[in-house]
């Protein structure tokens, strides 16, 4: 009971603190903008810990954050090995191949009306394939190692990037294209100097959606056969032996990796599309 009251008191205390900070002049500074969400995150962890202890939740149902933290600290080499296997080899490779192929396909579609009528429906069809259906088949085709996981990721990320790129290539208006014609620019010059730069906000939108899909795809694909490494492998086997602290440790790693991946792509976007209204800083 005392734990639960402590959790409640802590939550109300930090809530009041955050309200005060948001109303003060400190909140307009950079540090102030970071402190508010940090306090909120800390509150969630502390309240979770206190409630799990107070209500005596069995660790099989929900382990406390302290146990998860201890597991992360004691299994760093294992977690790193799983991260490299699933994220670097599976998700990142698949993301690069899938997004590259999608952008090239979009340009090909843009170039020829024939492909536009033929390829887009196929892309649509591929997007509708359920991952749990194709993953076992791709494992059969490409073997148990990371290659099959990368293949699943390629299938998953291809379509969102394709659709966004096709939309982006249509984003210039006729006035701009006419200007290029008056310069007697070739198709390639128009593409490189006008249409691809104009498509960048759209393309990056697709790339950002693809980051989260890639991680999910790589993890889920490992449920259907894998070597004895990888985040998906670890999650599925540790659930079977009730090592829920390890499962949560992997979830934490996946969440951090996914956020960092998304953030990295968003940063590149900011550099590439600095001219776009959405990137203007608030003064």
């Amino acid at each position: 009971m005392i734990w639960i009251l402590a959790a409640l008191a802590f939550w109300i205390g930090t809530l009041l603190l955050n309200v005060r900070i948001s109303h003060s002049r400190f909140s307009t500074t950079r540090a102030g903008r970071l402190v508010v969400p940090a306090i909120f995150g800390l509150t969630i962890l502390v309240v979770w810990e206190l409630l799990v202890r107070g209500l005596q939740v069995p660790s099989v149902i929900l382990p406390p954050p302290s146990a998860i933290g201890a597991r992360i600290a004691s299994s760093l080499p294992v977690l790193w090995g799983d991260f490299v296997q699933t994220f670097v080899k599976g998700a990142l490779t698949g993301w690069l191949i899938g997004c590259g192929a999608a952008v090239l396909t979009a340009i090909a579609i843009d170039r020829s009306p024939f492909l536009q009528r033929g390829l887009l429906p196929v892309g649509n069809f591929v997007a509708a394939l359920p991952i749990v259906g194709i993953a076992p088949i791709l494992v059969m085709w490409f073997g148990f190692d990371w290659q099959s996981k990368a293949a699943v990721v390629v299938v998953m990320v291809f379509f969102p990037v394709l659709v966004n790129t096709v939309a982006g290539l249509a984003a210039t208006d006729s006035m701009q294209r006419d200007l290029m014609k008056t310069y007697s620019a070739s198709y390639a010059q128009t593409l490189l100097k006008l249409r691809l730069p104009a498509a960048m906000p759209f393309i990056f939108n697709g790339l950002k959606i693809a980051t989260t899909l890639a991680l999910i795809g790589a993890i889920v694909a490992e449920f259907f056969g894998s070597p004895i490494r990888g985040m998906g492998f670890r999650i599925s086997t540790e659930v079977g032996r009730l090592g829920l602290d390890m499962v949560w440790a992997e979830i934490a790693v996946a969440a951090l990796a996914g956020s960092a991946f998304y953030g990295a792509v968003a940063l590149i976007e900011r550099g590439v599309t600095f001219w776009h209204p959405s990137q203007r800083r608030q003064q």
């Binding site: 660790s59 099989v60 149902i61 073997g143 894998s226 070597p227 492998f233 079977g240 032996r241 009730l242």
Partner: protein, 326 residues
Amino acid sequence: MKGLLTGAAALALIAGAAQAEEVTLQLKWVTQAQFAGYYVAKDKGFYEEEGLEVTIKPGGPDIAPVQVLLGGGADVMVDWMPSALAAREQGADIVNIAQPFKSSGMMLTCLKESGVSTPEDFKGKTLGVWFGGNEYPFLNWMSKLGLPTDGSPEGVTVLKQGFNVDPLLQKQAACISTMTYNEYWQVIDAGLKPEDLVTFKYEDQGVATLEDGLYVMSDKLKDPAFSETMVKFVRASMKGWKWAEENPDEAADIVLENDDTGAQTETHQKRMMGEIAKLTAGSNGALDEADYKRTVAALLGGGSDPVISKEPEGAWTHDITDKALN
């Protein structure tokens, strides 16, 4: 007043219905002849004779029986001892009350053409293994053979095998895990001949661990009424098992009748029942302490990553089977 009377009448009705004690059994896997004894006991009225009303819940690849038991979704479960003991280490207080299976049906099935004819040939080969609690006997066996499972050339490369036999058919692995009563026959049905295959039974290699036992929560067992219900349940279940051993074909038919998915075929189930009967033959339902000790020793010696770190205490009891069988 009238409300009170109807309330009392309703209570009397409920009390009448409660004459039959309700028991929910969670299976380890889907409905198949592996669990024939329970389906026979239900179908032939053995449970009814004991005054029980038994609900049998099939399992599957995404169902961990221990979690169902802990969550209160079942009173008793069928599980393998390695995963049950691993769950005990994680704080799930479960206890074995009966052991209908005497022998293990687990084996490695290898393609002859991959050059495996004795366990010494495993070195440098790729082997398919089930995880989720079923990997411990394998890891223990490899550590006995002195083969590291890290994929090094001196050791073996381990694949996490799904619950199918594709890796062997696709030649992605030299050997895969199979049960004598199920996956081995899937390999045969896929067109391979027994003479193309080499099998290594865990039982013959001296690394077998106890399979399908009945487990309940320890704290519930302290309640005399619940333990009395379990005595009746075990007695009727063992009656069902012995009936199934004597009438394998009819038992397979009963299993098929109870299979709501319609996924099982008659030939496969009849074969499975024949193999299962071999595994249950040596057991009257009581756990043999020597088998238990062998299982624990195997799990403690699981190589670099042992499944249990200390000798379990109170993981089994003879109280129920003593009352049920005498």
